[in-house]
């Protein structure tokens, strides 16, 4: 029990899981509505787009980089795809629509990948620049007016439920099919990160780029592939966003990049690279979404949201570091007392 507790407390995702459970219990005690089907469905629905973005961010963080351009890629894909369909008047199946969005995302991710992989520029600089670049290009060349009516295929898709609950009142609550996108992306990322050579290379790169290069990993190619993959994921998130909102607004999404990164970091991915899991990221996204959408339910005004989320970031990432240092300190004291254990000094 103690070991389980200490393991929970020494990893951010452990703290997040514990916080999540405590909050969920608190919420449901304070207001039973929290556990009702409509509220939970609503929560899951709100987590979809953030969740898909977060999986992309996780992959970049695991590889030791950082990406702030994904929201601009998502916005570009969502608006360009919708405009393309409306202006051209074609009616492809929904699968093809997603493919268009993903293709746009991959193309923009390719730009990131070229600059980062080929030229070896730092990821923060490149994605900061392309955040501005992609957004500027979208609003200058593609358009600024939002579409209030989106193509019929998207509307039809948005009405399809993944799960439907029939309430006693006769109302039907639906979890949209788009939630499947989140599940698919998460599963796909878990597969790549956990069971492929490419995934191993991503973590290796995040652990030490120099070491990765020395064991024969083509760092440039892996980076190019990572940013194309992440671009594609952002493109999918963008199109998914349209189907959930049922409008295509080019001003959406951009501005939320740091919040998504916060969710991923809370899920245990280290900003210094080499660490991070899909399950942790999902926990991070769900807890943040829960705080953002449920504080009101227990009578806490919405304006406490940011303070709570910020406090959680500091607590969730600070506590494991503090505990690690405390343990190291204790081990060092023990080593000083009896020379049986040798401890490497931290660098």
């Amino acid at each position: 029990m103690r070991r389980l507790l200490s393991r929970l407390a020494t990893s951010p995702q452990g703290i997040m899981l514990a916080t999540g459970i405590v909050l969920a219990v608190l919420f449901s005690v304070a207001n039973p509505v929290f556990l009702s089907a409509p509220n939970i469905v609503d929560l899951l629905r709100n987590a979809i787009v953030t969740g898909i973005f977060a999986i992309g961010v996780l992959i970049v963080l695991a590889s030791g980089g950082i990406d702030v351009s994904f929201t601009a890629i998502g916005a570009f894909a969502l608006y360009a795809t919708t405009k393309l369909l409306i202006v051209s008047g074609i009616h492809p199946p929904m699968l093809a629509i997603f493919a268009i969005g993903i293709a746009i995302g991959v193309a923009l991710g390719f730009v990131n990948g070229l600059l980062i992989g080929l030229l070896g520029l730092p990821t923060l600089i490149v994605t900061l620049a392309t955040l501005s670049l992609f957004r500027g290009a979208l609003l200058t060349f593609v358009g600024t007016l939002y579409y209030g009516t989106i193509p019929a295929e998207m509307v039809a898709y948005s009405r399809q439920p993944l799960l439907a609950f029939h309430l006693a009142s006769g109302r039907v609550v639906q979890l949209p099919l788009a939630f499947g996108n989140f599940v698919l992306v998460a599963g796909f990322a878990a597969l790549i990160l956990g069971s492929t050579m490419f995934g191993r290379k991503i973590y290796a790169l995040g652990g030490s780029e120099e070491a990765a290069a020395r064991i024969g990993i083509d760092v440039r190619r892996v980076k190019l592939a990572i940013f194309m993959l992440v671009g594609g994921i952002a493109g999918l998130a963008g199109v998914t966003h349209v189907t959930l909102m049922r409008i295509a607004n080019p001003f959406d999404l951009v501005g939320s990049e740091l919040n998504v990164i916060a969710a991923v970091v809370l899920g245990g991915a280290r900003i210094t690279g080499g660490h991070g899991t899909v399950s942790g990221t999902i926990i991070g996204v769900l807890v943040i979404t829960m705080i953002n959408s449920s504080l009101l339910l227990i009578g806490v005004p919405t304006y406490w949201q940011r303070l709570v989320v910020g406090g959680l970031i500091l607590f969730g990432t600070g506590l494991p570091i503090a505990i690690e240092r405390f343990n190291l300190h204790r081990a060092r004291l023990r080593a000083a007392a009896g020379p049986t254990v040798t401890v490497q000094a931290p660098v």
Binding site: L124, A129, S132, L133, A137, V265, Y303, W304, G310
Partner: protein, 321 residues
Amino acid sequence: MQREDSTRSYLVALFGLMVLVFAGIGLGNPSFVSGASLSSMAFQFPEFGLLALAILPTMLSGGIDLSVVSIANLTSIVAALLLKSGHEGLALPLALGAGAACGVLNGVLIGYLRLPAILATLGTMQVIGGLGIVVTGGPAVTGLPDWYAATVNAAPGGIPVPLTVFAVVLVALGVLLRFSSTGVQARLYGANPIAARFAGIPERRLIMTIYVASGIISALAGLVILGHANSAYADYGTSYVLLVVLINILAGVNPAGGSGTVSGVLLAVLLLQFISSGLNFLSFSAFLRDLFFGLLLVIVMSLRVLGGQFRLAAWLARRSA
């Protein structure tokens, strides 16, 4: 202390680019060079210029401060509430104090708890911004005494007050970073923290000083913003965060730490102001500005890397020989 050889030539190139952009827009629309237009620009850029200066010392030391905009907003709220309630004498010192306190919070998290700077300030960005929202309940604080906006928007002797504030901070920070031991230590720490530790640099005190300075400069930015907007809003200018990081990188500040100058920041701030006002004067879409900023950064960084890889100067010398 010319640590990085490319810094000076980069600054010269940046200056050339700035002059070129200025001249180009001036030729396109001569009224761009008029006194009215220059004065309006001089009122605009100190706002994000101060925020850019606030981030500079943190990036120089290998960190970053994402909380500058939140700090600026919180200080402007503190100042606004005090001004409104009649405690006019307290407004300025308490606002600056609030900025310094936010800096202390960052300094404790980064220097003492050893959180990565990007993570700590990502958290404090939310906490400090959240504090502003909690204090105000959401809406902007309005109804300030008239004299405040009148003072900030005045231009005694033709020089706008915000510009004076910016210039004073620029020179003070420049002197501090270049000639004081703290400045040298910050650069050394940014270039190589382990070497800095072994050289006996008081690490914690250094980090605390840097982030408190950043907090105080952010507070000054907040006071300027308060005068411009004539109101204090917890969510003001959230898009500024990444913009001011971009300015610093364009200014030649190494994001990994160790090099960067206030003159670079001045040039980058002016360049971006010229581009943004210029596009306005040439009646282009306002969003073209974002496109240009991004493109400029990509081109500048690519050229720096390619120039470094191919040793442009040596290559040119060989060709001409």
